[in-house]
Symmetry: C2
Subunit: 177 residues, 2 copies
């Protein structure tokens, strides 16, 4: 897991600016300028496989420069890049989940290369914590992975042990209303 | 469009309790009891094609009784049922969008039968208001409609005229942080 965090309270995990190695030190998205908007008529281009997962939690594939104006609209505090491993160590997913569950990291974007396997598995583990049945977890995973779905990911989510985590707040307790 | 709203300020649209014609008058989800949880071990069952669209806006297919404990976790104020018409009149979509954009109706669930065509078209029109490029709007639509995607829906979204609407707040302005 690589984590960029704009809070200043950087943890032991690595940090990186979004797809721009010459970015500002604090990783602030303010460095992107309107000239980077590549879509016509001020249109916004979300990253591949972008979606909202929960209040202040988003998922996607790897953002490129065309996505930066859109990402600015999310007001992100943190970006979590899951490393390109076919078999992600369970401890890494546990560490990532703790970051996702910590509300001070939100709004937060979880991404990997395609937003399918690693991101999908992490979101699936979050759904287990949220007490979703496995059928619904797999259905959501497959909506993004489609024909690239991996049995190894499904098994990982099924066997993931949530006993060390407190149950996170429900959707409604996040609601402002 | 049918709209159930727990605010008490019912508008001129129709209202209905969720799949339960003997429900309480105010449409409160509190009438559902734990005995309705059909999944084992207290697991929650989101409706078919459930997802979060924006802060306090959710989408799905038609909820059944097994979904009620999950829906309770959303703290919904409103439920919008799109009518089963293949060709939805544009004015109905405009009226629905105005309901979605009114924050006092949130948290709100938009649903139709499968959460694919009518719901997908309405969400697509919302994305137009949010200035998403058409490619990303179609990609999101197809993630839910899959092999049932309809060219008529894509054309509807492309041609939908957003000029009468104010641009809605961005994701970040909804964020609590």
């Amino acid at each position: 897991m690589l984590l960029e965090n704009n809070n200043g309270d950087r943890s032991s995990t690595c940090h990186h600016p979004i797809g721009n190695s010459s970015g500002s030190d604090d990783g602030s998205p303010e460095r992107y300028t309107p000239a980077m908007e590549s879509a016509g008529e001020g249109l916004l281009v979300p990253p591949l496989n972008f979606s909202m997962v929960d209040y202040g939690v988003f998922r996607s594939g790897f953002p490129d420069i065309a996505n930066f104006p859109f990402l600015q609209t999310l007001g992100l505090r943190s970006i979590m890049s899951e490393p390109p491993l076919v078999n992600i160590p369970e401890e890494k997913i546990r560490e990532s989940l703790r970051v996702v569950l910590d509300e001070k990291n939100r709004p937060l974007l979880i991404h990997c290369k395609r937003g399918k396997h690693r991101t999908g598995s992490l979101v699936g583990c979050l759904r287990k914590l949220q007490k979703w049945c496995l059928t619904s977890i797999f259905d959501e995973y497959q909506r993004y992975a489609a024909e690239k779905a991996r049995v190894s990911d499904l098994r990982f989510m099924e066997l993931f042990d949530i006993s060390g985590f407190k149950q996170p707040p429900t959707f409604s307790s996040h609601s402002k209303n």
